[in-house]
Amino acid sequence: MPRITEILKCVSDMTKQSSNLPEAYIKRAMEQVEWRTPKAIQYRQTEIKRKKFRFTTNRPWTQQFEKQNQPGLRRKKVFVEPILEWTFFKGDRVEILEGKDKGKQGLVNYIIQERNWVMVEGLNCHYRTIGKKKNYPGMMVKSEAPLLVTTQVGLIDPSDNKPTQAEWRYTEEGDKVRVSVRSGRLIPLPKLAEETQDYKTKSTYIEQEKDTPAEELTRITFEPQLKTFAMDIADKMGIKEDRIPRKTYWY
């Protein structure tokens, strides 16, 4: 049986968690099959599809991502430094260490873990014109550029408000926490870390009409009875059946 997670391995945990989408959907949306052999006895079941994706600021299930990873396209390999434990979360205060906005502090807005990228709100921006036509000069838009987590950005140590490297360590109680390497001060997780497409925080989620609330979900209405499913339904619906089918034998 082919491994289900071969494509999904590339998509990072932060992306999957913040999207609230089922993994099977992400895999299905990302799939780019160039050719699949017909379903016939003379064919060996094979398919030519993309295995190496180019991750961008567009999420893997979007149409723009699909266009950027079309079957015919050959893109140069992007080398990404593997980070064992990811330390950046949405809403974190960071300082930019390189580039135009060096020295400035801001909040993390968007995370692309597959490229070790982080977008800081309002910083490291550039201007681009959209919709330029013959008569129309176009609309100018300010957009942020991603910053590399390894070199261009550093988490801010709350004790002295200066950039630092962070590590995951365990407290005496056994909780896993982020700790500044320089001073040893705890860097708490921001509130917005649990933000997803559907809610800012789980407790502030507004229940919609198709959502089952907690009391209904946890209520146990099952009463064990010596009946099969069909017998139970027949009793409840008032269906009476006295006929007994002929005996069947297994040999």
Binding site: E209, A230, I244
Partner: protein, 177 residues
């Protein structure tokens, strides 16, 4: 194709006249592979090339019931074929009973606020405990068991035999056979 030569041929160089008649019985033998001549059509699929026309006509007019069962893709029959005609039996047609969902509290989605619910599975042993355990405990306390362990005053469930239970389950219709 090689020809296997049985018997001996003439030898021209021998001085003496041959005393036997040369019989060349040849039986053709294929020494090439069985796949020789077959082509693997990779760019297009061909349909209906297997079997002679006679065979295909025969299969259409007199279908083999056992072969049909192999290729029916799991479709349950709704009737029976008698004398080349199909007779639909109403009991074989499944009747889908959908209960009235007015006032049903469970919705299709679960709210994000809800904590994870972890429940163990409810198996046959759990069902046994739920149905019989109370009565058995009472009998033991009040010494209402016979020597071999069977109850002196069996309840309705305890009187049920395996055959009876199966008949009950099958009468309303079930997947068990």
């Amino acid at each position: 194709m090689a020809h296997l030569i049985i018997g001996r041929g003439n030898t021209i160089t021998s001085m003496a006249t041959p005393s036997y008649v040369a019989l060349i019985n040849s039986r053709p033998l294929s020494t090439s592979a069985a796949a020789l001549g077959k082509r693997n059509f990779r760019k297009f699929l061909t349909y209906g090339k297997r079997g002679t026309r006679y065979l295909k006509k025969d299969m259409r007019t007199n279908p083999d019931p056992e072969l049909e069962k192999v290729f029916d893709r799991g479709v349950r029959p709704v009737g029976v074929v008698t004398e080349k005609k199909f007779k639909s039996i109403p009991e074989m047609i499944p009747e889908i009973i959908v209960p009235d969902l007015n006032g049903f509290k469970l919705k299709p989605y679960v709210s994000y606020k809800v904590p994870d619910v972890i429940q163990g599975s409810f198996g046959p042993q759990d069902l046994f405990y739920a149905v019989y355990s109370d009565k058995i405990a009472e009998d033991v306390k009040n010494n209402k068991l016979n020597e071999d362990g069977s109850p002196a005053e069996p309840s309705e469930e305890e009187l049920l035999t395996a055959d009876e239970a199966k008949k009950k389950a099958l009468s309303i219709g079930s997947d068990m056979y």
